[in-house]
Amino acid sequence: MREILSGALLVIGTTFMFLAAVGLVRQPDIYLRMSATSKATSLGVGSVLLAAAIYFGDFAITARAMAAIVFIMICTPVAAHMIGRAAYFTGTPLWEGTLIDELRGQYDPRTHELESVSFPELDTHLPDIEMRKFTLPVGSDLEGLTLAEIDLRRKYDITLLAIRRGAEVISNPGGDIAILAGDELVIMGHPERLSGVRARIRRIRKAAVPANPDG
């Protein structure tokens, strides 16, 4: 009985692991390849280890096999996510048949931070324009200045659409409005201009907190 169960698990596990390798070779882009390998191998190795645990039928060996299975079940998705993230940031192309890329334009390409408002239709109507939301950090040297003083439109060639301050939303803000730390600025413009203005908004006064070296 134990042999039959163990043999069945062995066959299942081996099949899945082989299919993972086939998927790795045959899928058209890295994201689909990872989808094949990470899922199929965790099931495959899990089954094979379970087969070994049942075959030996010893408590210490079963405990070790279970530890390995739990570890694989936790770590495979983490590792797959990290590779996928790295691949996406370094511009690994998606398969040309991909229909939806929901992350497109959502990440800042330089800092790899997720900081954008999603406007799916904007892309179709205005292909080179993006809309982003930036939060003014505490200690920013722009804190307390009015929009006329900062003059984002002329200096950075972007448009400030609205400011969200707590529950309040200031739409189409005038030049006399001063921005405060914690304000969320919704800005529209060319992606490169947005990167520039983002760096400006992130800049902290020298006397205040030292800038984050990773930022």
């Binding site: 042999e3 043999g7 081996t14 790795l24 070779v25 070994a52 590779i83 790295a86």
Partner: protein
């Protein structure tokens, strides 16, 4: 067919074939992340091979190596991912 001959003559050759397929992707790439995924898969396949070999030869001690290899391969993959993301 005994379980041991199933492990030795059916499961092991299939997994070796799977490793060869993964090596095809490792060589062809084309991107670095593709190769990292291929290496990760090879490590996982070797874990499966060790578990099967443990059954085939009645050497339960090989299962300890599976745990070690799982740890090392996870660390390696995470390190590669960080390197790819930061170093590019």
């Amino acid at each position: 067919m005994t379980l041991q001959s199933l492990a030795l003559f059916v499961a092991l050759p299939i997994l070796v074939l799977a490793v060869l397929l993964a090596v095809v992707r490792l060589v062809r790439g084309p991107s670095v992340p593709d190769r990292v995924v291929a290496l990760d898969l090879i490590a996982t396949l070797v874990m499966g091979i060790m578990a099967i070999y443990a059954i085939a030869t009645d050497a339960a001690v090989l299962l300890d190596l599976v745990v070690v290899l799982a740890l090392v391969s996870f660390m390696g993959t995470v390190a590669f991912a960080r390197y790819v993301e930061r170093g590019a």
